[in-house]
């Protein structure tokens, strides 16, 4: 609306009546009230005048020659469009049907002949108020519509930014199944999956308190930390501590993220998990009974770093096992009677599902049946991960941060971790980072990480801590192994140490990386006889075999506590020519 109306302003009023005397009487009365008046003698003229004069209120005789009042009213209402132009019929009719037809034609009220000055004034004022209110509402509606359009546009942009950060992971890996709303970021659920440089994958499923953009804002740093740190080889505890610290710092008190973190190592057959505030997850093992993964921790972002617990649990996994996690939308799915799906029903569905049905399909089908709705509500997220042979996922792209700078080609680096530092610091991301500065090595971060981590794990667990790996052959022993590892790490003393020396040299078509790793442990007999007997009972068997496979050479020295590997790499034809 162009004119800013107020109650007191004179109005433009159109009077249409074929009786000249009636027209004159009415015109005089309305003019005396201070309004501008235009008159018309029939319907056609009334419509014409409406176009040119743009009246704000129309007084219209019902019966006129040519085009009658009702016909004119229809035209006028059509011309007025969204603007409210009240039409008051002038009539001497009194039969109800005729009056009703007037209103159907678009009229708003009647004025009976003969005219009463007081009533005319009151009706004009009343309809003017209605007209003004309609104008205000229309303006507000337009404003809300505009704002909403802008909000939707902003959300679309936010979503695009979020997708760039969050969906570069490996959710499309063949062993992952999930259900997440296409708009899940805006209802607070997050689901990330990222391959680990040493093989296997990390999964984070979470549920932020609150909805909309605030939840998305919290989700972005979580995605960035999760992908960044996973790709660089950090372990679950470090990543969780970092995410918690970040959320605790940036989110208001009443916002936090209930989440579960899964670290799956298919090569070693290890599952490491942490659950803070999500319903208990399931590890479905085909050789043993199911294992629950209940929430044992506060959600992420609730307490500061010094109170946060990143203590994890471990379990043995084998090919054919499946891990399943859901957000609380699943147990809270409600049926027509207001009853909730619940965790007991969830466990039951998983246990009794048909052989050929995947756990995820079974749960989704059960929720559909239970809620009696074909549509799954948006605010629930499910993910299942099948344990597969470690080579199945070799093709997954790693997401090591690419730097625009090119790094050194010839260098040596020595690094030692000792004493209590061994218990809470993981040197692998740092060592991997140094190697990744060599442009040609970036594509091989997986292999490099595996070499470093096998050497470090052997040195730490079997060398320094003297843990027998034979324990790991049974699920019970596996638990004991990791509990004992924790215990021995805590009592590590000053003399305990693991030392690395890395040497790298670049040639024309590649380079050579030598990694030398020694530990303070008592070592073992690595002469032929000793080594083969150790291999038979599984001592460091798989780790050493893997190192032999990846490296040109592997030699033990000292009393068996010093290892040197030589890793030779050539420039891959797939790789763009190095600018270094």
């Amino acid at each position: 609306m162009d004119d800013a109306d107020t109650d007191a302003q004179p109005l433009r009023i159109l009077i249409a009546d074929d009786s000249e005397s009636d027209r004159l009487i009415l015109k005089t009365m309305v003019r005396r009230q201070g309004h501008d008046v235009m008159t018309a003698a029939d319907g056609v003229e009334a419509v014409e005048s409406f176009r040119s004069f743009k009246p704000q209120i129309v007084l219209l005789d019902v019966m006129m020659p040519g085009m009658d009042g009702m016909e004119a009213a229809r035209h006028i209402k059509a011309l007025a469009g969204e603007e409210l132009v009240p039409i008051i019929f002038l009539t001497s009719l009194s039969d109800a049907d005729a009056l009703a037809r007037c209103l159907e034609a678009g009229g708003d009220d009647f004025l009976s002949k003969p005219y009463n000055r007081v009533i005319i004034e009151a009706k004009i004022n009343a309809f003017n108020r209605m007209r003004l209110m309609h104008g205000t509402l229309s303006r507000q509606r337009d404003l809300i519509r505009d704002r909403n359009e802008q909000l939707v546009k902003e959300q679309t942009i936010a979503r695009r930014v979020f997708d760039n950060i969050a969906h570069t992971g490996c959710l499309d890996a063949p062993n992952i199944r999930y259900h997440a709303s296409p708009l899940s970021v805006f209802n607070g659920d997050v689901l990330f999956a990222c391959p680990r440089p040493s093989g296997g994958m990390n999964i984070l499923i979470g549920d932020f308190t609150g909805h909309g953009l605030p939840a998305a804002i919290g989700a972005m740093p979580v995605a960035e930390i999760f992908y960044g740190m996973t790709s660089k080889g950090f372990l679950i505890g470090d990543i969780l501590r970092e995410i918690n610290q970040k959320l605790w710092r940036i989110l208001p008190t009443d916002m936090f993220c209930c989440a579960a973190f899964l670290e799956l190592d298919f090569h070693l057959g290890n599952l490491t998990f942490w659950n803070g505030g999500l319903p208990g997850g399931f590890l479905m093992r085909h050789n043993h009974g199911p294992l629950r993964m209940p929430s044992r921790h506060l959600p992420l972002g609730v307490v500061s770093g010094d109170r946060f617990s990143a203590e994890v649990d471990t379990a043995k996994i084998e090919e054919g096992d499946t891990v399943l996690f859901v957000t609380d939308g699943v147990p809270e799915a409600t049926n027509a009677m207001g009853e909730m799906f619940g965790e007991a029903r969830l466990a039951d569905v998983l246990e009794t599902r048909a052989e050929d049905e995947t756990p995820l399909e079974a749960v989704l089908a059960a929720i559909r049946t239970f809620t009696g709705s074909e549509e799954i509500r948006d605010d629930l997220t499910l993910v299942s991960v099948d344990v597969v042979a470690s080579n199945v996922l070799e093709e997954l792209p790693l997401r090591v941060t690419q730097s625009a700078l090119s790094g050194p080609s010839r260098w040596t680096c020595e690094y030692e971790v000792s004493g209590e530092t061994l218990s809470h610091f993981n040197p692998l991301p740092l060592l991997l980072h140094i190697c990744m500065e060599v442009p040609g090595l970036r594509r091989r971060s997986g292999e490099i990480y595996t070499i470093l981590s096998e050497l470090y794990t052997n040195a730490l667990e079997h060398g320094v801590l003297e843990l027998p790996s034979s324990w790991k052959s049974s699920p019970e022993g596996f638990g004991r192994y990791y509990a004992e590892r924790e215990r021995r790490l805590r009592s590590a003393d000053r003399e305990d140490a693991v030392r690395f020396r890395l040497e790298h040299e670049t040639g024309d078509k590649g380079g050579v990386l030598k990694v030398y790793c020694s530990d303070s442990g008592s070592g073992f007999d690595y002469t032929d006889g000793g080594l083969s007997s150790l291999r038979q009972d599984g001592y460091a068997g798989r780790g050493l075999a893997l190192l032999h496979q990846l490296c040109e050479s592997l030699t033990h020295q000292g009393r068996g506590n010093e290892v040197e590997v030589v890793y030779r790499w050539t420039i891959d034809s797939r790789e763009p020519p190095s600018l270094a």
């Binding site: 308190t209 609150g210 936090f256 505030g277 319903p279 929430s295 506060l298 959600p299």
Partner: protein, 101 residues
Amino acid sequence: MAIHTRRSEDGRTLIISIEGRFDFSSHQSFRDAYEHGDQEVSDYVIDMSDTTYLDSSALGMLLLLRDYAGGDAGRVRIENCNNDVRRILSISNFEQLFSIK
């Protein structure tokens, strides 16, 4: 949903009772219930005898109250939870932050 407050006899404990669903719609009235600026109050009790359900935004509100009551030093007790409420509090491990009876 309705929220009622009363004081213990010595005036030092504020008892907040929550009736029905405790969710985002009670945000303002829950805050009004404890933000009274009264120095006398040192202890807070959330009485959940008549609370049927609570969602994650209610957990957030409990954290706000905890901060208001003095964070780690604050004295906030949650009492008389039904099984559903109890389950949500324990999944979130809120017993590490509140005394829950």
